[in-house]
């Protein structure tokens, strides 16, 4: 005898307002409100903030920060880290420079070669992690050094400065007041939202991140997923590297050196979990916006640039602290248990 189903079926409304989703919306919402308040505040007190020139510069840098954040976010979804984001970005930048200046490849081809390089370097990280079973932190710590070093050796640490004008021109395009880089970043965001919410691959990535043993026993090809995810992370880092090269109109070996902090800050501010199994694409975008606006605003307010990092640190502490405080109070009220 089977029991009669009581509440097996669901209504769309019930699913939309389920605790977890509401929680995530509130999280992103809080960040959004913070950003709007910040933009409004800065905009009122410093009109030059909203000038086309400033907006263009701001969004051009923002786009790179968003993509760097995405690069880290994808591996965070696995519960992994990728300390080689900057190194891969640098390698991609130098490959671009080499392909354009020395080989003389057409621009699209040069970019493709650079992106492939990034993918391969990321995939190597993934393969090493899968094969050795070692912590991704250790592996990517070593490969970061290895990739940087290899690039230094091959290029003799010399920059490529004579890039075609058409290539550096890519960084000058704008739509309205916004740099067209921003639209590259937003397109990638849409792609990632589609990946994580509307594809088999994204589901497999998050399942692997949340519980790789269970995922493996349920038929998810866990090792392949790890390699693909790291390759994707490498690809995104390479895109950021190419964009920076265009912006600087030269390929410098120092590109990527200071990416480590922003790469973690954007996704973590946005609510992506270090433990894996959950990523927030929109959150990472908002996190990057918060960082860029804060940075830009502080500079415009003539706060010495030296203090900016201090405020970024406080922002991260505040964001995770508030998140923690909310989940504790929510648990006390018995709302959600994460």
């Amino acid at each position: 005898m089977l029991h009669v189903a009581e509440s097996g079926a669901t209504t769309p409304a019930a699913s939309w307002f389920s605790g977890a989703r509401l929680w995530r919306l509130a999280n992103a919402g809080g960040l959004l409100i913070l950003i709007i308040a910040l933009i409004a505040g800065i905009g009122i007190f410093i009109p030059s903030f909203l000038s086309p020139f400033n907006l263009f510069a701001l969004t051009r840098n923002l786009a790179v920060d968003i993509i760097i954040g995405f690069s880290m976010m994808t591996v965070l979804g696995l519960g992994h880290m990728n300390l080689a984001v900057g190194a891969i970005g640098a390698c991609a930048a130098m490959v671009t420079g080499f392909a354009l200046e020395r080989v003389g490849l057409p621009i699209p081809l040069a970019i493709i070669v650079a992106l492939l390089t990034g993918m391969v370097l990321g995939a190597i990280n993934g393969i090493l992690i899968v094969r050795t079973g070692l912590h991704s932190f250790v592996i990517t710590l070593a490969t970061a050094s290895l990739y940087f070093g290899l690039m230094f050796i091959l290029t003799k640490a010399e920059a490529f400065r004579n890039l075609p004008v058409d290539f550096s021109g890519l960084a000058k395009g704008r739509i309205g007041s916004f740099s067209n880089f921003l639209f590259v970043a937003l397109a990638l965001a849409i792609g990632l939202v589609a990946l994580f919410n509307y594809s088999q691959l994204g589901r497999q990535m998050l399942a692997t991140g949340a519980n790789s043993v269970a995922a493996g026993l349920s038929g998810v090809p866990v090792n392949r997923i790890v390699v693909i995810t790291h390759a994707l992370s490498g690809l995104l880092a390479a895109i950021a590297g190419v964009l920076v090269t265009a912006r600087l109109a030269s390929a410098l070996p120092s590109i990527g050196e200071d990416w480590l902090l922003p790469s973690f800050l954007a996704p973590l501010l946005g609510g992506t979990l270090l433990a894996g199994g959950y990523v927030s694409v929109v959150g990472a975008v908002l996190g990057a916006i918060l960082l860029s606006v804060l940075q830009n605003g502080l500079i415009l307010m003539n706060v010495s640039g030296f203090w900016i990092q201090f405020f970024l640190g406080l922002a991260l502490l505040a964001a995770v602290g508030i998140d923690r405080w909310r989940s504790v109070t929510a648990e006390r009220r018995g709302m959600v248990s994460r």
Binding site: L128, T132, G133, L134, H135, F137, V138, I139, L141, A142, T143, A144, S145, L146, Y147, F148, G149, L150, F152, I153, K156, A157, L261, F264, L265, L268, L274, A275, S304, F306, W307, I308, Q309, F310, F311, L312, G313, L314, L316, L317, V320, G321, R324
Partner: protein, 326 residues
């Protein structure tokens, strides 16, 4: 269960590293006549004195299964405060040292307390603290170093005890102190117990909160000393001190056999690893290679030794994991 003496020696974890270090020294002294010159040895020692403290600072946090990304930031902040006290306020060196140590301890304790209290991952908290401390450092100094360090500091740094340079004692004392703390004090045993199995440690009445704070405090103290030794070494209090410590701080403990998830670190292994890293850099420079090549070889070294440790551990894994032998 009985092991022969030979087996026991072969099982010493850091033995392969020691062999590697000796081979390194041998090779270097053969390819370069300068290597064994007293000047070059002194250079090696100077680098060793700072790097070993940095590595130990990271290692004690790895022991409890966490990471401290703020090691360099604490070192840098303490370095410039130390410099400011000496240059602007003419505080005596010992007093300035104690003040710097206190600041390092406070910074570490703050990180530890935040982790314990918020229960947020140590990685995120120390990432934020890295930013906060670095920001403070640059905000205070506007990136300008304190140049006028007292002569006495430099003199102290260059002095000898008999034929032995004074700074040789810094890594030695730090090594012995950390080893004693980790292996022979209650606090140290509780730290490694927490890293080895937090649930079991808690059931044995160990407070994970207190242990977390202790480990980060100790780490802060070591980072602070590293920062001040760096000031003595450079002769100026540079705000950039500590900005490039991250790689070395993890590389040495990991090469030395530490397990990143906690519960096992090797003090001697870490120290030998520091020596190997320093020898590698020194050797490449003596061989006349471009200093830019160093990261590649460092990365390769980390990867290879980690793979070797991994292979060695899995080859001798506990009989529990290797069934079917009977």
């Amino acid at each position: 269960m009985k092991q022969s003496l030979g087996d026991r020696i072969l099982n010493i974890e850091w033995l392969p590293l020691l062999v590697l270090a000796f081979v390194g020294i041998l090779v270097l002294s053969m390819i370069s006549s300068n290597f064994l010159s007293s000047y070059n040895l002194f250079v090696i020692l100077r680098i060793l004195s700072v790097t070993s403290l940095v590595a130990l600072s990271q290692m004690v946090v790895i022991a409890i299964g966490q990471m401290n990304l703020a090691v360099g930031a604490i070192g840098g902040l303490v370095a410039i405060l130390f410099g400011a006290l000496l240059e602007l306020y003419h505080v005596s060196i010992p007093l300035a040292f104690l003040a710097g140590l206190a600041v390092g301890i406070a910074c570490g304790a703050l990180s530890g307390w935040l982790i314990a209290w918020t229960k947020i991952s140590g990685f995120i908290i120390t990432l934020a603290m890295l930013s906060v401390f670095t920001g403070l450092n640059y905000g205070i100094t506007k990136s300008i170093p304190f140049y006028n360090m007292p002569q006495a500091l430099k003199a102290w740094y260059d002095s000898y005890v008999g034929p032995v340079p004074l700074i040789l004692f810094i890594p030695l004392i730090a090594m012995v102190a950390v080893a004693v703390i980790l292996h022979h004090t209650r606090a140290g045993r509780q730290m490694l117990a927490m890293g080895g199995n937090p649930a079991a440690a808690e059931l044995a009445g160990i407070s994970l909160m207190r242990t977390t704070i202790m480990a980060h405090t100790l780490s802060g103290a070591l980072a602070a000393i590293a920062g001040m030794v760096a000031v003595a070494r450079l002769g100026t209090a540079e705000p950039t001190i500590g900005s490039d410590w991250l790689l070395a701080s993890f590389a040495a403990p990991v090469i030395g056999g530490a397990i990143l998830t906690g519960g096992h670190v090797s003090v001697i292994g870490t120290m030998i690893a520091v020596l190997i890293v320093v020898l590698l850099e020194n050797g490449l420079i003596l061989a006349g290679t471009n200093p830019f090549y160093i990261p590649f070889f460092l990365g390769a070294l980390i990867l290879l030794t980690v793979l070797f440790n991994h292979w060695r551990n899995s080859a001798r894994s506990s009989p529990l994991l290797r069934r079917g032998g009977h």
